[in-house]
Symmetry: C2
Subunit: 343 residues, 2 copies
């Protein structure tokens, strides 16, 4: 299902994570990026070789000659609302019968104008952040699953968990390992995950239940031997640690990959009056994760995924025997080898 | 606002926690309990002296002569739906213009018949479990609050956190300490909290934000020197630990009271094929809570609230100097003294 990616005003400044990931990883090809303020002809300057054949155009009209079936929203505007100056593009896409996939907090299907246009042109509006009606409670059934479960965890938000998950899935498949991907955020879902949910939007009591369910669903859909699940947040993040813990308990991983940005000193999110919370040393973050993972299943550490690294690891460091990779530069094959070796 | 409490079929078997708490603690007097299968004349056999003057009747009609303004639903039916055989009572109450307060998962305001009756008779339907529209992100503003914050935590669900919170508020007020109560569950909200939210129903990413908000709101509403917040779940509960961690971070307590049922060996909730998760020793649970509370604020332990105890504490026990109380038997004055002593 060829798709157009909408990324107004932010494609070239590194703030369109979803757009970049769709170009790099989506099983559905990206045929154009829409950004009215970008002054580049193709996506190559942003994402490298993967973007060489993908034109960057000023509005959806320009992209519609390219025979897409879908428009994906590839940036997250502040507040999660639909900016008014996106409406001409969304209207144009719907009038051509394209579906729209959105991870915005505001639901497109509840926007009268867009919903009416979609109905009139046989197009579908997919609001990925809409909480599903199920309210699964963690049952521990996942502990009986005959598959190896891997969860990415991080020392902060935006430390590479989604990218590492996708690269790990690729690397395992390259090695011939039957692997499924369970997504927990909008980008992962847009990439064509085998199962998933935008877990930060579900009712708080069911985070662990959802973590378990998407692992079980991904296995049921594929029968894969390895289930890679995308993590969220960081256990030590004061605003978002709850979701991290729920996924750690719910997915009950055999192994984790710890994601870390070596240049990041403070937790993301803007706090009151500029208060700062430090990004923990990866060893401390990992010990804390292990301490609370039990009583479900205590995971091993399959590797470190470090952005802007490497992390300095002397011979006597607790992680001296743990593979460290930069997945964007080198892929995740060394992580995949570790995962494959898990009994 | 005098209230009738509906507790069909479960008032006498100890399964109507909300009803019992309303009788014991609500600032709004309970004028009758409705339970068609109870064969007692007053609530005294269930709740002791506090129930001596409260008749137990078979249906709402019998209670309506007692001049209530409100009917509160005091039991949680399996699945959270409105049982059909409750409808005559709900109808009778609405036809008399009584408001209904409900913590059910199913929202009464979305029930056509009940919503229409309420409109027709000027009655209000309060669905406490409906997620509020706000989505507050933890900001750390709570760390600047000029008040002592206390959070109850537990080794399991249903280990006395709500009761301990309410008893602690009472005891502090008895001692002349200006104290506010922030509730996190339906019962606490029905009791007339100074602020609160049914936190297990909010979107997962905002649990910590809500924890912070209800503490700030309770302080803003009262200016109290101490804010007691009701906890939920248990950090080590595989299904519900996420909400516990979000509240620990979000409320950023100076001190916690750890609640424990000395006879409970396994975590509540029915797991797959009877799998069991042990209730941790309180010392282990507390160490785990302390390990993940930082980087926000590392709380002290103000005391142990033990049901069906006491917990055996020899002189060399890590909790040897920590007060241990049975709040239902003795109240929370020894806990209150500890809280009052916090700088």
């Amino acid at each position: 299902m060829p798709q157009i990616v909408l990324a107004h005003d932010r494609f070239t400044d590194g703030e369109a994570k979803t757009a970049e990931a769709l170009i790099r990883y989506a099983s559905d090809p990206v045929v154009a990026v829409v950004d009215r303020s970008a002054s580049i002809d193709t996506a190559e300057p942003v994402v490298g070789a993967a973007g060489r054949e993908i034109p960057v155009v000023r509005d959806a009209d320009e992209a519609l000659s390219l025979d897409a079936d879908r428009l994906a929203i590839g940036v997250a505007p502040v507040g999660g609302r639909v900016p008014d100056d996106w409406r001409p593009d969304l209207r144009a896409a719907l009038e051509e019968g394209l579906d729209i996939v959105s991870g915005l907090h505001d639901f497109l299907a509840e926007d009268e104008e867009l919903a009416k246009l979609a109905r009139g042109h046989g197009a579908e509006l997919h609001d990925l952040r809409r909480p599903p009606p199920d309210q699964p409670i963690y049952s521990s059934q996942v502990l009986d699953l005959d598959a190896t479960i891997v969860l990415t965890v991080g020392t902060d938000c935006s430390s590479g968990k989604m990218t590492t998950s996708v690269e790990l899935v690729r690397a395992l498949r390259d090695r011939g390992v039957d692997t499924a991907f369970a997504a927990t955020g909008q980008t992962g879902l847009m990439l064509g995950a085998d199962a998933g949910v935008v877990v930060d939007a579900v009712a708080a009591d069911f985070v662990a239940g959802w973590g378990e369910k998407i692992v079980l669903d991904a296995h049921e859909a594929t029968g894969a031997d390895v289930i890679v699940t995308e993590g969220q947040g960081a256990l030590s993040h004061p605003a978002y640690g709850a979701v991290t813990l729920g996924l750690l308990h719910g997915t009950s991983p055999h192994a984790c990959v710890l994601c870390h940005d070596e240049t990041r000193e403070e937790k993301t999110t803007t706090f009151h009056e500029g208060r700062r919370f430090p990004v923990l040393d990866p060893v401390r973050e990992w010990r804390r994760l292990q301490a609370v993972a039990d009583p479900v299943r205590r995971p091993s550490l399959a590797g470190l995924s470090v952005m802007n690294g490497p992390l300095a690891i002397p011979d006597d460091h607790p992680f001296a025997d743990v593979p460290q990779v930069d997945v964007l530069a080198d892929g995740a094959h060394r992580l995949a080898a570790q995962v494959e070796a898990i009994d």
